[in-house]
Every structure is written in C-alpha cells, then in structure tokens.
C-alpha cells in the first residue's frame, strides 16, 4: 500500500515555489529541501526539478542569478518574484480546495 505516488502535473511547480518562499536557493538546495520533507511519500528525480526551475524562470515566477554557494562555488540561485508569490497563493488555494473535496469523498461524515 505504500507505493510512492507519481508526481501530479504542476505539483512540482507548487513545491518549488513554496520552497523558495524561504529565500533564494540554488537548484541542489531546492532538491534537498523537497526530498527531506517528502522522501517517504514522493519520489522526485532531479531532472524534472531543474526543468521546472527553468520553466518557472521563463514564466517570470522566479529569477535566476549566479552567486556563491556555502562552499564557495559558483551556483545558480533562484529567487521568487512577486508574480511567483501571487501564483503560489493561487495554486495553494486550488490545492486546498482540491484536497478538501477528495477528503470529503474518502471520509464521509
């Protein structure tokens, strides 16, 4: 019964945006952060994560800039834009109502 769920379309985008709320992060940090919190449930590969980061940049929800990592290496940092923040809010609300609907079906009062 504990089969890892396939990532739903668009879910990854929300997770990334949510992650970046804490501040600018490079791709590896985003990957670790999401993995640390979902390791048991979600099986996320890094390839779709990076693709999503660039896609979000194109959508202007995040901006990217080169900076220095904790160990002083050149890393690409992503930062949430105001538009991205707005998008995250909208997605969150959609998610909550979706989840609520699903739960209402699964746990009839």
């Amino acid at each position: 019964m504990r089969q890892p769920m396939d990532l739903l379309q668009g879910t990854l985008d929300v997770l990334i945006l949510r992650t970046l709320v804490w501040g600018p992060m490079h791709g590896y940090a985003v990957s670790r952060w999401i993995r640390d919190r979902t390791e048991d449930t979600l099986q996320i590969e890094d390839a779709p994560l990076y693709k999503a980061l660039h896609r979000l940049e194109k959508a202007e929800w995040v901006t990217a800039q080169w900076g220095l990592s904790e160990n002083n290496r050149r890393a690409r940092f992503y930062r949430l834009t105001p538009a991205g923040r707005k998008q995250l809010k909208a997605e969150e609300a959609a998610w909550r109502s979706y989840a609520k609907a699903v739960f209402q079906v699964l746990e009839p009062a």
């Binding site: 490079h26 791709g27 590896y28 990957s31 670790r32 590969e45 890094d46 390839a47 779709p48 990076y50 693709k51 660039h54 896609r55 940049e57 194109k58 080169w66 990592s69 290496r73 050149r74 890393a75 690409r76």
Partner: protein, 885 residues
C-alpha cells in the same frame, strides 16, 4: 539610457550552454560530496548522484532550449522598451520646443499632403485599369490619311462594317456616334419634352467592351442592324436612377424617342461610362435615318474601339488595320487617301491628353515635398547644433553612437509621421479641390479617391521625408566630438554646419526658382489667353440649343419654323439682336466641305482641301459682334430659290485670294454647283481659344440647312435673367420643342479657359509656396549665422568695425545664397522648359520676361529675408556677446 548601463549583458547560445553545464555539474558535485560524507566511495557516490538525477541529457537540452527562449524574449522586450523610451524622449524634446515642432510638422504636412493629393489623381487617372474585362486588350482605332496630317480621323459607318467583316486579329470591333451636349433624341409622351443625351452604337460596341447589362439584356446583333427590330434602347445607370427611380419595371416598356416607340431592353452597370459619363441612353446606330447621316464613306463620324484576341500584339493589330484600310482605299475611290489606321491602347487614348500635365504637376509637387524636407532638415540642423552639448553629455554617460543615432532618427520619424497624418487630411481636402478645379477636364476622374494605395503612398512619402531630412543632421550630431562640445559650450563645428545649411538653402532656392519660373510662364500664358480676341464679343450673349424635328415640321417646311422661331425671339423685349448657327464657338466645327475657288486645282495625289462649314442665319455676326470686313452677312432673302451664297472668314480669304477682294468670287465643290462669296468676316476662334483660326466657311441655313440649332441672343440685361422669356418665345411657336441646353457665351469662355486657368492656379500656388519656403530657408540660415557668430561679430564691433560693414557681411551671405540658387534654378528651368511648352499659349517656354521677373523677385525676397538678421547683427553689443561665453 541610465537603465541600460545596469542591465545584464545579452547571453549568447554558447554562454547559455556552458551556464547549463555549470549548473548541472554543481548539483552533481554537491550530491556526490554529501553521499561520500555518509561513507560511500567516490565512484559509488557519483553513480548514485547520476541515478537520482534521472535523464541528464534530456534535461540539459530542455534547459538550454528554455533559456534560449528566455533570452529571445528579453531581447525583444529590451528592443520594445528602447523604442518606447526613444519615443517618449522624442515627444518630450519636441514638446519642449513647440515652435520648431509646429513649423516642422506643418511644413511636412503641406509637402506630404500636396504630394499625396496629386498622387491620388495620378493614380486614379493614369494607373487604375479601365472598368472593362481585360482592358489591356482594348484599343481605339482611327482612320488616318496618306499625308499623315489627319492621323486621328473619325471613321465612316460603312468603313466600320468592312473593318469588322475583315478582322482576323480582333475579337470584335464596335463604334459609336456621340458628341457631348450635341447627340441626343427628343423624348416625348411623358411630361415635359426632354432632350436625352444619346450614344448611337454599332453592333459590336457592347461585345467589344465586354460589359453586360446590370438589368435586362444587351440588344442582340439582329436588333442593331437595318431591317432588324432595331427600335431598342439601353439606359445608363444614372439616367435609370434619375428618371425611373431605379425600378426594373421600366424593362420592356416603351419610350417615345423622336416620335417613335423604342423598347427598353436593358440598364448598364454604374461604372459603365463609355464613351462619356454624359451618355444617358444607348440606341442602335442603325436607327439614324440616311437624311441625317448618309451611309457613304466620306461621312466620317464614328469613334471606334476594338478588342484584340489574346496574345495579339499592338504591332500585329496595327499591321492588320493598315492592310484592311489599304485594301479599302484601293477598292473605293472616295477612300483613296485614307490608306492607314491609327491604333492606340484605349487607356492611352483616353488619358493621353492629360498625362503630360499630370506628370508635370507631380514633378512640381515632388519638388515642393523635397523643399519641405530641406527646410525641415535645416530646422533640425539648427536644433542639432544647439543640442551638441546635450548629446555630448549623453555620450559621456556611455551612450553609443548607434544609440544616439537611433534616438535622433526616432525623433525625425515622429515628426515625419505627424506630418504624414496631418498630410492625409491635407490630401483629402486637396484631392477634392483638385477634382473641383478640374471638373469636366479630367477623364476617368471617378476613379480618383483617397484609397488604401494612396494612404500607403502617404506613409511611404512620410518615411521617405523622415529619412531625407533626418539623415544628415543625425549623422552629423552623432559624430559629435565629445570633448569639443563640452568645452566650447556647444559652439563647435560652426563653419561646417553653416556650409551644409547654406548648401541646403541653395538647393531649396533652386527648386523654388524652377517652380516660380513655371508660375511665371503659366501666368503670362494665361494672361495672353485672356487677351486673345476670340472674334466675337461674349458679354450679354445667351445661347439656346435645340434640334428641329423634321418629322414634325416637314422636310422643307422646317426652315420656315426655324425663321419663325428666330423672328419671335427677336421680338422679345430686352433682346437687341438674335441669330443662329449650327454650333456656338468652341462647341463644334461643322462638317468639312471641299469648297474651293472655281479653277482651283489640287496638286496630283493630294486630296482637295476641305474646310469646316457652319450653317448660320441672317444677323448672326451682328448678334455675336463679329466684324464684317467686306461685303455683307446673310439676309433673310438668302433662301432656297435665291442664288447660293457663302461667307468666308479672313483666313480663307487670305489663303485663296491674297491681296484681292474676295467678295464676288465663286466657290465650288468638285466643279458642280457654284456659290458666290457675299462677305468676308473676321476670324472667329471656333475650335478653341488657344488655337489660331484656320479657314472657315459659312452658308445660309435657309439654303443648305441643318436641324441642329444654336440660337444666340444679345440682351440688354444679364442674359441669364432672359432665359425664361426667350424659352417661352420658342415654345410659343411649338410648345413641344425640346431644349437641349441654355448657356451664356461667357460660360463657354470660362469653360474653354478652365484648363489653362487650372494649370495657372496650380503653378501659382506652387510658386508662392516655393517662394515662401525659400525665403524662410534664407532667413533661417542667416538668423542661425548671426546667433552662431555673435561673439565674432561682437569682437569686430569692439575692434571698431563699422556697423554698416557687419550689416553688409550678413546681407552678402543671404544674397549670395540666392544668386547661387538662382543660377542653378534658372539652368534647371531652362533644361525642363520643353516639357512645359505644351501647356503654354502665346509665349515660348524660354520667355525672357518670366525669367527676368523671377530673378528680380528672388533678389528682392532674399534681401527682405536678410533684413532682420542683418539688423540684429548690427545691434550686437560686444560686451554682452563676450560675456556669454
């Protein structure tokens, strides 16, 4: 500009590729290290990091692709933002100097608008295809005689039938008989008698043109020939609208024309205006009785149009027509001299008469646009010099040369497009004015309008103007020497700038001189026309045009009716004199008759000369005020049974009886019948006021009559107030007499002068415009000069220079420019003069008075333009001038 400095540089494809690689490498290295920290070997850690990542190659390609898209978008946005920025900057800097902006935009609007208006006419008349299917295959055909002095003669109906029967390279050939204001049929039986303007058309007329009926049908071939059921009529669209309320119930009804019933078979579409927009109905030529137009070869009255078969060239068509006419000339003695045919594309045949005038006009108006550009360029240059410091600052702040150039070009384009938009307004009005001025003289004018092509032209003209007046200043300004500009406070390169501006002004004066010479020539030519003696006194003359119906009044008795009408009109109070002719001056020449002195022998092979012959009443010359040089004019007694008499004009008398009194001499046609000359009268300009009169003959309408009558009355009061009483006098003889038209002789003078007046008005307008622009140009450059050299002038004055010498220095510069422009302009005008010769009357295109007048005028204007700046220079206060530094 500032923002640009802090912007990320653009990333190339290569940079994007290496950035993506770096990002991926950083991830894998970081993961590998983390895994090694948990005790994995280097290789195992690397392998796991790669496994966890998934499809690296696919991800890399995807990321590069997306990044390239991002970059493209960014560049596009940057570009748009730069343009918007340039636009905003341009608008702001134009707002800051409203005088400059208004003058520049107005100048451009006039230039572009005038050009566009003329283009819309040129385009509509010369470029628009004729409203027939495959119009390029239509040609007009004329008879031409052997000697070549009559290359465009009308065609006889008999010849036309032969042409049509013998054609091989032509799909069809058709002919018509129509003279505007003269060809018509009387419509009775429905209200007031009405004269309907009628084109009499041959079989093949409609099929050649290839246009079908809008309603109903075209007449069948069998309905357009003798012996067929040819009493049919086709209505023109406007006539149908006007008289039958655009109702199709009129089809198959009958109209009473010339007292006979005609069946209405069809209505033509609205754009069918051939051979003239004034045609109201089309009736088969076969309905014209022989006594009106005999069906013999010497009676040449038809216009002919033909359609070439596909892929037949004009040369082939000409060759075939010459073969056919040559054959007929050999076959029929009366055709012996009509050995050739002239074939011209129909479009050329229709517009040929105005083509030259329109192209000259277009050239002139293009000159005005160029002048406008030069003037605006000069204004922009002044501004550029004043802005050298501003530009220097921007260069210092890091603006590239290209960036500055783009900014200046944007400014020019904004000006040009603003001028263009306003110019379209000018063009809409201008086109209307042009059409009103040229009413009745411009063929195909219905095709003229401000349409998308014309708007496109206006846009093109604006862009062209923008580039023209923007380029030189922009290039100069963008090469501004930064150091110099900052140090000298914007006073560098004054010499070069003044030289460039002077060159521009000289070019402008040269253009203006050409236009002014054109205005001078046309004005003098028009003045000459106004002072031409037409051979009659047009004031207080009223003409009434009508045709006598012989069915109604009898084949011989109609002459009595004719006399009765004239007698009755003479009795009208306020009419001092009345007479009649077949055609009023400028309205028609009359048939040509080979009336020569008895004993005259034509040279062998030469056709006997033929001269236009008018049929007139008694007292005609007295009525219109023509001098009788010797003998007498016709009397009421010169009627049928009296000895046949003729009156000749001075030109005829001089040609055949030089140095003798022509009165009493006898004339004859081919030896049969003799007419005695009873009088010689002064020459009347019968065909056109600009055309020198040739030999003319007059015969008494009571002896050799025609039913077309132009009754002329000399009145005491304004002739138009007499219209009603004169018409009533005619109707008191026959209340069913349709009147074709009523006009005054001053009207026809105006009509015949309309084209030269139009040309004169247009050239004068251009001349004034050119002169104004030229004067403004000289003034501008001198004012600039004084401002730029203020300091130098101050020094001179401080060193004791005479104020008068300062004054003279500025004046010299202005007059110098004018002289240089005059030399170039006069040379150009002389070189162009042969193109305007055809527009001129009575003076050569090299008329010295026109040229001298222009020279004096320009010297005067240049002096005037220099006056203000020169006085300012004289008053320069050396102390203030030097403190300004």
């Amino acid at each position: 500009m500032i923002r640009r400095l802090f912007q990320y540089p653009w990333r190339s494809h290569a940079v994007i590729r290496s950035d993506v690689d770096d990002e991926l490498r950083f991830h894998l290295d970081s993961r590998q290290q983390a895994l090694m920290a948990t005790g994995l070997s280097v290789d195992a850690a690397r392998a796991r990091a790669i496994r966890e990542f998934g499809d690296i190659d696919e991800a890399r390609r995807y990321m590069q692709h997306v990044d390239n898209d991002i970059e493209t978008n960014r560049r596009r946005k940057d570009y748009v933002r730069d343009v918007m920025y340039d636009l905003k900057y341009a608008l702001r800097s134009l707002r800051v100097s409203p005088t400059f902006t208004i003058v520049a935009v107005l100048t451009l609007a006039i230039g572009i608008g005038a050009n566009t208006a003329v283009f819309s006419v040129v385009h509509g008349v010369l470029r628009q295809p004729l409203p027939f299917p495959n119009p390029e295959r239509l040609v007009r055909v004329w008879s031409a005689n052997r000697s070549g002095d009559s290359p465009k003669a009308s065609v006889s109906a008999v010849d036309l039938d032969d042409w049509r029967a013998q054609r091989r390279q032509f799909e069809d050939i058709g002919g018509w008989e129509f003279a505007s204001g003269a060809s018509g049929l009387d419509l009775t039986g429905s209200g007031q008698p009405q004269r309907v303007s009628t084109a009499f058309v041959s079989p093949g007329f409609f099929t050649t043109l290839g246009v079908g009926a809008l309603h109903g049908r075209l007449p069948y071939e069998s309905e357009m020939v003798r012996g067929g059921d040819d009493r049919v009529v086709v209505l023109s669209f406007p006539y149908w609208q006007r008289n039958f309320g655009a109702s199709t119930t009129v089809l198959n009804t009958t109209l009473i024309l010339r007292g006979e019933p005609y069946r209405v078979v069809g209505v033509m579409p609205p754009n069918f205006r051939f051979p003239s927009p004034s045609v109201e109905i089309y009736v088969p030529f076969s309905t014209i009785p022989d006594q009106s137009i005999p069906r013999i070869r010497p009676v040449r009255i038809m216009g002919v149009v033909a359609r070439l078969k596909p892929n037949v060239t004009l040369d082939q068509a000409r060759a075939e027509m010459n073969v056919i006419t040559g054959r007929l000339a050999a076959q029929y003695p009366e055709n012996a001299t009509w050995t050739h045919a002239t074939v011209l594309p129909l479009h050329e045949a229709i517009t040929g008469s105005v083509q030259n005038a329109l192209l000259v006009l277009f050239a002139a108006v293009t000159g005005v646009l160029l002048m406008a550009c030069v003037n605006v360029a000069s204004l922009v240059l002044t501004r550029a010099s004043a802005r050298e410091r501003e530009i220097g600052v921007r260069v210092a702040l890091g603006a590239t040369r290209g960036r500055i150039l783009r900014q200046l070009v944007t400014e020019s384009m904004v000006l040009a497009l603003a001028g263009g938009v306003l110019g379209i307004g000018v063009a809409v009005v201008g086109t209307r004015v042009l059409l009103a001025l040229s009413a009745g003289q411009l063929p195909l004018s219905e095709a003229v309008g401000v349409n998308p092509t014309v708007l496109l032209f206006a846009l093109g003209a604006s862009l062209f103007a923008g580039i023209l007046f923007g380029a030189a200043p922009a290039l100069r300004a963008s090469s501004t020497n930064l150091q110099g500009a900052l140090r000298a406070g914007g006073r560098t390169s004054t010499g070069a700038s003044t030289r460039l501006r002077s060159a521009l002004v000289i070019a402008q004066v040269a253009f203006a001189v050409v236009l002014a010479v054109g205005a001078g020539l046309t004005t003098r030519s028009f003045n000459a026309l106004l002072h031409v003696d037409p051979g009659f006194t047009p004031d207080h003359l009223l003409a009434v045009n009508f045709t006598i119906n012989t069915d109604r009044h009898g084949d011989t008795a109609w002459k009595q009716y004719y006399s009765d009408v004239i007698t009755r009109v003479r009795a009208v109070p306020g009419v001092t004199s009345a007479g009649a002719a077949q055609y009023a001056p400028f309205k028609g020449m009359g048939e040509r008759n080979a009336l020569v002195p008895v004993g005259y022998v034509a040279r062998p092979g030469e056709e006997p000369p033929a001269f236009p012959t008018q049929r007139i009443s008694d007292a005609y010359f007295r009525t219109i005020g023509t001098r009788i040089l010797s003998g007498r004019e016709f009397l009421p007694t010169d009627r049928g049974n009296a000895p046949p008499v003729v009156v000749v004009n001075e030109a005829y008398a001089k040609a055949f009886f030089p140095g003798q009194n022509a009165v009493g001499k006898e004339l004859t046609v081919g030896g049969s019948g003799r007419l005695t000359i009873v009088g010689v009268v002064g020459d009347i300009r019968q065909s056109d006021v600009a055309e020198a009169p040739g030999p003319l003959l007059y015969v008494s309408n009571l002896q050799n009559g025609r039913v077309k009558v132009t009754l002329v009355c000399r009145t005491v009061a304004d002739p138009l107030t007499m219209t009603r009483s004169i018409r009533d006098a005619i109707w008191s003889v026959d209340r069913d007499q349709p009147i074709t038209s009523i006009f005054t002789f001053n009207d026809i003078m105006q009509e015949t002068l309309a084209r030269p007046r139009l040309v004169t008005v247009l050239f004068a307008a251009f001349g004034v415009l050119g002169l104004t622009l030229g004067a403004l140009g000289i003034y501008g450059v001198l004012a600039f000069l004084v401002t730029q050299r203020r300091r130098e002038i101050g020094v001179r004055i401080a060193l004791g220079a005479n104020a008068r010498r300062v004054y003279a220095m500025i004046m010299r510069h202005g007059v110098g420019m004018a002289i240089a422009g005059l030399v170039i302009g006069i040379s150009a005008a002389l070189a162009l003069s042969r193109f305007v010769q055809s527009l001129l009357f009575g003076i050569p295109a090299t008329d010295p008075y026109s040229y001298a007048g222009v020279v004096l005028l320009f010297l005067f204007v240049a002096t005037l333009a220099g006056l203000l700046p020169a006085r300012r220079a004289m008053r320069v206060d050396p102390v203030i001038a030097m403190q300004q530094e």
